[in-house]
């Protein structure tokens, strides 16, 4: 036998399916069986069971072809314990709601009802997400850029620091939502008022942390840049800003969390669109399923935005890798 026959033989050898994913498939199949065959305590849609069985089939297919996947794609198998846990959670949820009614209706909804909300109302939910994201992005972009510039000016210029410090000390601790009643009559529209509030909520932590980052830049960096012929402009752009960036990002993360809170409150109080408004509207109709659906969508939206910011930071602060762990 020549050497070249060896890899061909290795390729042709049947691989054992991934055991973890196979277990997950079994768990989903069990969940599907419970949903399908355990009689419901009330009348619910029957579309959930086929979907859960579908997931089980997809998982067993993945378990079979998994060993032949390239190394990068093969990383999905590490999610197998989560897939098992989710199947168990779904089954338990199904039991305490649809099967036994242990958790009372209408405050608690079974999975199939939640799914029904997504099937019936996905267009409106999507529209609300778009509204929320546009509002949040407008306020956050405005607030964080103004906050960054303010913090830079406070840290760089003694005069700005002298006048700005007391103002920031006074206004900084005030929650942005306290401005809500004033904002809604000061601004021409509830949308612009909400942009202002979100900008305020995100801008303050960015300003304070940019400022503290700028003041913490070591004098030795400036000495180096000055002896190498750096102009004041060069010092700001090439020393101050990059050196303060880790602190700026802490402010950006704090500002993002603060802006979520203000977004929801603003949408509940005055803006007639977005997920906050949807929550309020669903409560008005006692449509609890819709409320849970909106909460879920909101969680996905917020965590996606946080993840995006993490990725921006990972790109910009790649040099920190190895200096600290995060």
């Amino acid at each position: 036998m020549s050497d070249s026959a060896l890899p061909r033989y290795a390729l042709a050898a049947p691989q054992r399916p991934w055991p973890g994913v196979l277990l997950a498939a079994a768990a989903w199949a069990a969940a599907g069986a419970a949903i399908r065959f355990w009689p419901d305590e009330a009348e619910y849609t029957r579309t959930l069971a086929p979907i859960v069985f579908g997931i089980a089939v997809a998982l067993s297919l993945l378990a079979a072809i998994g060993p032949y996947l390239p190394e990068r794609a093969a990383k999905v198998r590490f999610a197998a314990p989560w897939a098992v846990a989710l199947a168990i959670a779904l089954t338990l949820w199904e039991i305490v709601t649809a099967k036994t009614g242990y958790l009372p209706r209408p405050f608690f909804v079974p999975p199939q009802e939640l799914m029904g909300v997504f099937i019936d109302d996905w267009a409106k939910l999507l529209e609300c997400v778009a509204h929320s994201v546009i509002l949040l992005a407008s306020g956050y972009a405005l607030g964080s850029s103004l906050g960054f510039l303010t913090g830079l000016a406070l840290g760089w210029s003694k005069a700005v620091g002298y006048w700005g410090h007391p103002i920031l000390r006074l206004i900084g601790p005030l929650p942005a939502t306290a401005w809500l009643p004033i904002a809604f009559f000061m601004f021409p529209s509830s949308w612009s008022a909400a942009v202002f509030l979100i900008a305020l909520a995100s801008g303050l932590p960015v300003a304070i942390l940019t400022w503290s980052g700028v003041s913490a830049v070591g004098g030795a960096y400036y000495d180096i840049a000055r002896t190498l012929g750096g102009s004041p402009r060069f010092l700001v752009l090439k020393v101050t800003i990059p050196a303060a960036m880790p602190s700026v990002f802490v402010g950006l993360f704090m500002g993002l969390s603060a802006s979520f809170a203000v977004l929801v409150v603003a949408e509940m109080m005055g803006v007639k669109a977005g997920l906050g408004w949807y929550l309020q509207w669903a409560q008005g109709w006692a449509a609890y399923g819709n409320m849970y659906a909106a909460l879920g969508v909101m969680a996905v939206m917020c965590s996606t935005l946080v993840t995006l910011l993490f990725q921006v930071r990972g790109r910009l602060l790649a040099w920190q890798k190895g200096l600290l762990r995060w």
Partner: protein, 263 residues
């Protein structure tokens, strides 16, 4: 306006320095703390002068004044006859800490001076040259935290040399390195200086280092710093540490520093 191209060729590679009656004090808890007391000396172009003195005597302050980072309280420092009032890339400092910018790769750190002066388009090739000269040719794309202490200080040296300084100011640049790295870098710096002919000022409290490297050693007193001796080192390069000439000089210099009891 003088054409910079012609001045560049007209001037010698090294800078002439005159330090004329400099007094300087810091304010410490509201009271003035004198650090330099009537310091005067001059340096010929291309000289390698070591400033030797006890720790905290004010040598580093003198270097900051010569770099133009601070103005002296009294007196004047002149570079080629012109009073020093601001930093200039012809006078570059290498500090005890390499102070590389952690957010820049080694190459981008070395490029700082060229970027600051807007010379990246015409002189970018000098970056790799400078890295090669300090033995870091293969480390351009590495971040500073991945370098050893000696390598980081070499990178700081490259960052200074890329600007073709006419005065290289070394503020205890080898103070934090292990003794072997220290010795080899002493020779490397001497080689760079001999090749390029810039004037060098080295602040150190290491007597052996001063004697081994410099053409002239100026000894300072305790704070406030006053010049107590100005010794020419009449030995050609390459020098040998075991040379008995250095042993004699060493005894003399330690005596000047008040350490003669142990010698």
């Amino acid at each position: 306006m003088v054409n910079p191209a012609t001045t560049e060729t007209a001037l010698p590679a090294g800078m002439a320095l005159e330090i004329d009656g400099i007094r300087h004090a810091f304010t410490l808890e509201g009271r003035p703390l004198p650090v330099l007391d009537d310091v005067s000396f001059s340096v010929e172009p291309g000289e390698f002068v070591a400033l030797l003195g006890p720790s905290g005597c004010g040598k580093s302050t003198l270097l900051r004044l010569l770099a133009g980072l601070e103005p002296p309280d009294h007196g004047e420092a002149r570079a080629d006859g012109v009073a020093i009032t601001a930093p200039d890339p012809s006078r570059v400092v290498v500090f005890q800490d390499p102070t590389l910018f952690p957010w820049r790769t080694v190459r981008a750190n070395v490029a700082l001076g060229l970027e600051a002066q807007g010379l990246m388009k015409t002189r970018a090739y000098r970056i790799d040259e400078a890295l090669e000269r300090v033995g870091l040719g293969a480390f351009g794309n590495v971040y500073p935290h991945q370098l050893s202490g000696g390598m980081a200080q070499r990178a700081a040296l490259a960052r200074a040399l890329v600007n073709d300084p006419r005065l290289l100011i070394l503020d205890e640049p080898l103070g934090k390195l292990d003794s072997l790295t220290r010795m080899s870098m002493q020779s490397e710096i001497v080689d760079l200086w001999r090749r390029d002919g810039f004037t060098t000022l080295l602040v150190t409290h290491d007597v052996e280092e001063a004697l081994f490297m410099a053409t002239r050693v100026i000894v300072f007193s305790e704070r406030p710093a006053r010049i107590t001796a100005d010794i020419a080192i009449a030995r050609d390069y390459p020098r040998h540490r075991s040379d008995p000439y250095f042993a004699d000089l060493k005894r003399r210099v330690f005596g000047l520093l008040g350490m003669d009891a142990t010698w």
